[in-house]
């Protein structure tokens, strides 16, 4: 289980997180929604230690995320970045097997390559893609390679940062389906941030609405449409009028 308790984070005068409380039960898929600049990415980066919170606690399986062996902690995570964040200088298979080629999870190169090709196949890419470089791939293929890299070491927890941004509706549907299948198949805990309501309905077990640095509403995805929360209602129906200011 991932638990955030009263997490605050400011950048200069910009108070991004203002007492964030959130629980993601083990083996479930939580999707955080909210407008641009509401702190979704910052929350995710705080959990991974990419950004240090000003105050509050972040617990993963009741262990403080800031304590203990950092490598062992990060080895439990996989992450799909918004733009893929593939390493330009490495081939596709080396990107996917990055974690398997160095550090505590290091394997022989042939074995790592075989695992990478297997993971590529899992996300619907042919083995011929393995020796290409990221610049030779389309946006959708890069996203799939990013997904293959995220699951390469069979992590217990997977984060997805805007998984469908910049993709056409069909490719978005493919990625959503893949994410759902992989999360169920691996029994992983998933935390996704997105604006895309189609993704929310495809991926989520639970949804949390983040606004002004706090969670305004959280609950099962089935209850999202009749939550009675004015912030959530405005967001999911894409209304210009409501408590969320259109001009921010």
């Amino acid at each position: 289980m991932i638990r955030l308790e009263d997490v605050h984070k400011s950048f200069g005068n910009n108070r991004v997180l203002r007492g964030l409380n959130l629980e993601v039960p083990k083996g479930t898929s939580m999707v955080i929604i909210g407008g641009s600049g509401t702190g979704k990415s910052v929350a995710l980066k705080c959990i991974l230690g990419l950004v240090t919170p000003d105050s509050g606690r972040i617990l993963v399986d009741d262990q403080d995320a800031t304590q203990g062996d950092r490598d062992a902690f990060l080895a439990r995570f996989g992450m799909l970045f918004q733009g893929g964040a593939l390493f330009d200088s490495l081939s596709v298979w080396q990107n996917v097997a990055f974690r398997l080629l160095r550090g505590s999870l290091k394997r022989p190169a042939e074995e790592a390559r075989a695992i990478a090709i297997d993971k590529l196949r899992r996300v619907g890419l042919k083995p011929e893609v393995a020796d290409l470089f990221p610049a030779e791939l389309s946006g959708g293929m890069q996203k799939r390679v990013g997904l293959a890299r995220a699951i390469a070491a069979d992590p217990e927890i997977i984060f997805f940062d805007e998984p469908t941004t910049g993709l056409d509706p069909i490719m978005s549907g493919v990625i959503n389906e893949l994410i759902r299948e992989i999360v169920v198949e691996m029994g992983a805990t998933a935390l996704t941030i997105t604006h895309d309501m189609t993704s929310v309905r495809a991926i989520a077990d639970n949804v949390a609405m983040l606004h002004d640095g706090v969670i305004k509403w959280t609950g099962p995805v089935a209850e999202m449409d009749h939550s009675g929360d004015p912030y959530l209602d405005q967001f999911i129906h894409g209304r210009a009028e409501g408590p969320i200011e259109a001009v921010r």
């Binding site: 080895a75 970045f81 964040a85 330009d88």
Partner: protein
């Protein structure tokens, strides 16, 4: 009163800002050095950095040295002719190239070619979240990106300087023997006899320091770049400016240490 105090306040802010920047670079250097000497070591990254910084810089450093040596020979010959001292061309070309022009020209070429490339590459990696991706893949960016480049700079730039020194002297030799009428055997003998081990040592030490400065500035500005294309551009420009100025300042200090009477 404020008319008097405002310039002082501005000066104070500028001094504090400069000291802050020096402190941040010093801390960055210490962190990079710590990662240089503690495992894991990324051998593949080190070899790639050595290839990029050393081998691939050889043409530009070599050409610069050859032309500088040739021009130096022409200048010394025409200048020396004013007081009938044309014969000192081999000695002055040798000492000028080995002590000063070889390392400084190589350092500045490395700043232009390598520092800018490192800063742009790392800044782009930062902007596209590749640095964050490294962290989530349990890989320390200082160890994976900075330490190999710094080590490669410390090892390969002195080699480049050594080669540049030889090629610079060769440029002077070629011009002197082909167009200024010097005897080939006498030119070589005068060059070899005049140079002292300390000249060569100072040249290589300068190369080592300049290599460290060039790679460190590229990594520092890349890692601390702002967002977007403008951030990458600013990081690249600042890194080259800082590296060039620091290389010239370090050159002055090292020359003082080795050759002050």
């Amino acid at each position: 009163m404020t008319v008097l105090l405002d310039p002082i306040a501005h000066l104070g802010r500028a001094v504090l800002s400069a000291l802050g920047a020096m402190g941040r670079v010093a801390l960055f250097l210490l962190l990079a050095l710590r990662h240089l000497f503690t495992p894991p070591f990324y051998l593949r990254e080190i070899l790639t950095a050595m290839l990029n910084i050393g081998w691939l810089s050889l043409p530009v450093v070599g050409m610069t040295a050859v032309f500088t040596g040739g021009a130096l020979a022409l200048q010394i010959y025409s200048g020396g002719a004013r007081f009938s001292a044309e014969a000192v061309v081999p000695q002055i070309v040798a000492i000028g190239m080995v002590r000063e022009l070889g390392p400084v020209m190589a350092g500045l070429m490395i700043a232009a070619r390598v520092t800018s490339s490192i800063a742009a590459e790392i800044a782009t990696m930062k902007v596209t979240e590749q640095i964050d991706a490294l962290v989530t893949l349990s890989t320390n960016p200082m160890k994976y990106l900075t330490a190999p480049r710094l080590l490669a700079g410390l090892i390969t730039v002195p080699m480049l300087v050594g080669i540049g020194d030889i090629l610079g002297i060769a440029g002077g030799y070629f011009v002197s023997t082909q167009s200024l009428g010097f005897n080939t055997a006498a030119y070589i003998k005068n060059t070899v006899n005049f140079l002292e081990p300390l000249d060569v040592i100072s040249s290589l030490v300068k190369g080592c320091v300049f290599g460290g400065i060039a790679t460190l500035m590229g990594c520092y500005y890349g890692m601390n770049s702002g967002r977007g294309a403008q951030g990458v551009g600013r990081a690249t420009k600042s890194s080259v400016e800082a590296a060039a100025v620091l290389i010239l300042a370090a050159n002055f200090l090292i020359t003082g240490v080795f050759f002050s009477v």
